[in-house]
Subunit: 195 residues, 4 copies
């Protein structure tokens, strides 16, 4: 088996376990077993548990950023862009949705926090979103609100629909996710014409 395969095997197994059980509750033995690899092998590719975790986080960030940048077109409206990017992200959800959820757990490590603080999935995504929200606001495409808070909530809603929900429920389809995002973000729950 090519070394790259083994590295990927481990990353995949670790991602699965981290997403399922969290950082602390994931043991290296477990990762090794899931990856069908000797425990020592993990350490030939990653210095330690923390680095393994970081690597996974980093990969997700890179990939999501690429997707977003590929789709983003400033000629179009904010919501247009939002839904197209969403569409692309949801395309390879299978590899990533659980991982995204990890972003919520980074705070678990006292020490790690500082070091990787700005590399957090959450930070990167909301930062990105915030910038776009600000532009949209200037163009009058959305109501006035703090873009920082708004981007934070949008991110949380996305996570809730793509990841959180599927713990304990059947995963939502791509279309359903988009519908609910539209419902909550765009128009709200109140009927348009409560005559």
């Amino acid at each position: 088996m090519a070394p790259i395969d083994r590295r990927k095997q481990i990353l995949k197994a670790a991602a699965k376990s981290f997403a399922l059980f969290g950082y602390k509750a994931t043991t290296m033995d477990q990762v090794a077993k899931i990856a069908n690899v000797g425990k020592g092998t993990i350490y030939t590719f990653f210095t330690n548990k923390e680095e393994l975790f970081d690597e996974i986080l980093h990969e997700v960030i890179i990939e999501m950023k690429n997707v977003a940048e590929r789709e983003l077109d400033h000629e179009q409206t904010f919501f247009n862009n939002l839904f197209r990017i969403l569409d692309s992200l949801l395309e390879f959800r299978e590899q990533h949705d659980l991982l995204i959820k990890l972003s919520q757990e980074v705070r678990e490590f006292g020490t790690l926090q500082a070091k990787t603080g700005n590399a957090k999935v959450e930070g990167v995504i909301t930062g990105y979103l915030e910038k776009e929200l600000r532009l949209a606001q200037e163009k009058g495409e959305i109501k006035p609100c703090d873009p920082k808070v708004a981007s934070f909530i949008m991110f949380k809603i996305y996570i809730a629909l793509t990841s959180d929900w599927s713990h304990g429920n059947d995963p939502l389809s791509k279309e359903e996710i988009k519908q609910y995002i539209e419902l909550f973000l765009v128009h709200g729950l109140v009927p348009d014409l409560p005559v």
Copy 2:
């Protein structure tokens, strides 16, 4: 000191520590020290760490339910009730908001998950919300949507604003929280009349 006092002391200390550091990162030594109690004493009241955790979860649920039931008035509209209940919950937020966060961590335990599944804060709250959403829908107060998903999202938005946000940002005021809930849940981001 009466035994009930000791029990409460421990519960309070554990709640604080669980909320601050999470389940795994909370040690019984820590809880004992915060509670100003011998470590062994904890075990005279609780069988083990897991039960201590469950108890705390349970207490929060009960209290929240009481608050909700006290405020709920089916003569009024859904949103009216929602905001009044929210108001009351936020009132004693200091004791509970961090705990709510715990609901997110329950999944941390592979084994625990199954056993305490139905005792989850999350499940109770969303179940409650779901029931009310269904009624509101029947009355035409809100747009048609799956009440289960909707209640889930609403809960997540609530957690995001009251708890998640304050990791890394200044906590939002009660008023701000209500504003954002209104913005996202009730009316959406799109300006009302983009003629």
Copy 3:
């Protein structure tokens, strides 16, 4: 069992194992087993393996220094003092002879070396000896030689007789040790009158 007993038990066991097998080859499991104590118990008294080692070293140094200082009398000749101090040291040899040997192994730890450098048994003892040798030389009691080298050798001879020798041979009696020290240090192997 009084806590002091346990602490002493552990120190004794660790001393034995360190002296017998060296630092690296001594496992905490081994120490625990020899001390007839749970492994965790060691960590209630000592932060880690290194500190356990340091403590042992420190204790020996303190005790030896006390013995030496009690016996030292600058009114008397160097050799007189030397033999009286030797006498006292050999008195409680049973607790310490093996430990003394540890001084040779301190170099094993890359990191430790720097931290405890000046606390080394060897350094303390030879430093002490050196000072006395210098005085003796000024008084003409011994031949001219570098006191630093001389003290080093004297220490090594002492270790050889009290400790090294007993690995693989019956230990030498107190009297024998003194005889050999006199033979090598004081008069040399050459017969006095090789007529």
Copy 4:
């Protein structure tokens, strides 16, 4: 590269590392890197780490014995022989002095000890010395003493001067070493005529 070269390369590298860091602290990776050889290659020449160590010990012994036998001349006095042999040994000190030091570390291995007991550098050298001392004693060249103990001490003094001292001090020159051996072994520290 001829296999014999590779073997020598490995032995040399291992000798260096054992001498520098000791048995336990020497890793096979380290040896392989120093020898500029694949790690697996080591195992084509030596069954395991222990055997590699033994081989090195053995080699030193053979070489020292050869040197000694070449110089030894029973027509001459004990001390004459001693100093000439010493001279020769010190000649190729660069390759071996650190190795000699290893003799002290053999005890490090609980299990190994028994198996290689009779192959110990120490044992061979002191055995040799003992024989010569016995002869010298019979000729009246040295004072009466147990040749076994005396040879042991002589060996320790030699190690101390050639090897131990240089940890933490500038190495002594060949001349200095001989001077100190003469001082301690031959005549002692007491001035000849303390009138």
